[in-house]
Symmetry: C3
C-alpha cells in the first residue's frame, strides 16, 4: 500500500471565501504514485469546509446568501458560543451544512470525477492562516 500525506495552507483575506483546490489535489495524486485508491481532503479547522460542487461564481454567491440566511453571522449575541470571546459561532454552523471533508476516488492515477465536479476550500472565518489535509492511500 502506498500513502501520501500533505497539508495545504490558506489565508483568505475576507471573513468568507471559496477557493478551487482541484489542481493542487490532482498534482498530489500524481506525486503519490497511487493509481487505484481513495483520497481524503478535509479542513483541519472547524470553521471551514471542503466540498465538491460547480465552479460558477453566481452559484458561490448563492451559497453565501443562503448560508447567511440559514445561519446568520449577526446578531453575534444570539449564539452562546460567542460568549467565549469569539464571534464565529455562525461559521461552525455553516461548516456543518457544507461539510468537513470529501472522499474521492483515484482511478488510473487520476481523480475519478464527473464533468462538473471541482473541489473547494470553503472559508467561513478567514483573515488568518488555516490548513487542510490531503491523505491518499492505495496502490
Amino acid at each position: 500500500m502506498k500513502s501520501l500525506t500533505e497539508h495545504l495552507w490558506f489565508e483568505v483575506p475576507n471573513r468568507r471565501g471559496v477557493i478551487n483546490i482541484t489542481p493542487e489535489i490532482e498534482e498530489l495524486i500524481q506525486r503519490s504514485g497511487v493509481t487505484e485508491g481513495l483520497c481524503l481532503v478535509n479542513a483541519m479547522h472547524i470553521t471551514a469546509s471542503v466540498f465538491i460542487n460547480d465552479d460558477e461564481p453566481g452559484l458561490h454567491n448563492d451559497y453565501e446568501f443562503w448560508l447567511e440566511k440559514l445561519a446568520p453571522h449577526a446578531p453575534t449575541s444570539a449564539y452562546q458560543h460567542n460568549r467565549t470571546g469569539e464571534d464565529n459561532a455562525d461559521a461552525h454552523l455553516k461548516r456543518q451544512i457544507m461539510g468537513r471533508e470529501v472522499v474521492v476516488a483515484v482511478t488510473r492515477g487520476k481523480l475519478d470525477f464527473g464533468p462538473w465536479e471541482q473541489i473547494f476550500y470553503g472559508e467561513f472565518d478567514g483573515k488568518r492562516r488555516k490548513r487542510l489535509l490531503v491523505k491518499i492511500i492505495g496502490e
Copy 2:
C-alpha cells in the same frame, strides 16, 4: 490490495426523486472480492446526492417538503446561478444538505450496516441520464 470501480446510471423521470441502491452496492461488494475494506459511493453530478437513511416513503416525502422549504426551487430568479441559463440552483443547494457521498465499511465481504441503513441516490434535477461512482478498496 484489491479494488473495484463501477459507474451506475440513472434517469429519474421527474425533477426530484429517491432510489434505493443498496442491492446494487451489495452486489458490487461481492463481485469485488473485498472482505475487509471501504466502499465509496458518490454522485458524479453536482445536483444529486448519495445518502443513507430509512427506506420509508413518508420520510422521503418529508425530505422533499423540508428541502423545498430550506432551498425553494422558485422563484428561480432569486438565484444568481440561474442567470447562466439554468433553473437548477436550488438543486445545488439541496445536494449540500443531503451530501455528495457515503463511505461504508465492508466487513466479512458484506456491507457493515445497522438494521435500518439503506443507501439512496437522491436526484434534485432529473429528467436526464446521470451517473454515480462506486469505488471499493481493501483485501
Copy 3:
C-alpha cells in the same frame, strides 16, 4: 493491509445529546496497529450523527437551538413519517445536517487532526441503546 472493526454502544438518557468520542477512537487506532491509513466512524442508526467540531458546551447548545429551528420536533403531526407510529421524523432530518459519518486520516499511528478537531456522537432520538461503527484500514 491491516484492518480493525469495532462497534461502540451508547445510551443517551435524553432525546438529544452530544458525546465526545475522540479518546475511544484514538485508542482503537493504537490497537489497530495501523500507522498510515483511513479511519471511518459512522452512526449505525439513522437518527444519529457522527461529526467533527469544537468541544465547547455553548456551541453544542447553539447546535441544539439551530437544529430545532431548521427541523422542529413538534408538531410531530407535520411529518408523514410519524404516521408510522414514530415521533422521530425530525431526528432523521437533523441527522442529514450534521452528517452520518466522518473519515479521518491516520498518520504515524495517530489521528491527524487540527488543533480543535474533536469527534462527536450526536444523538437526536435517544433513551435507547444505539451503536456506531469504527473501521480502520491501512498499514
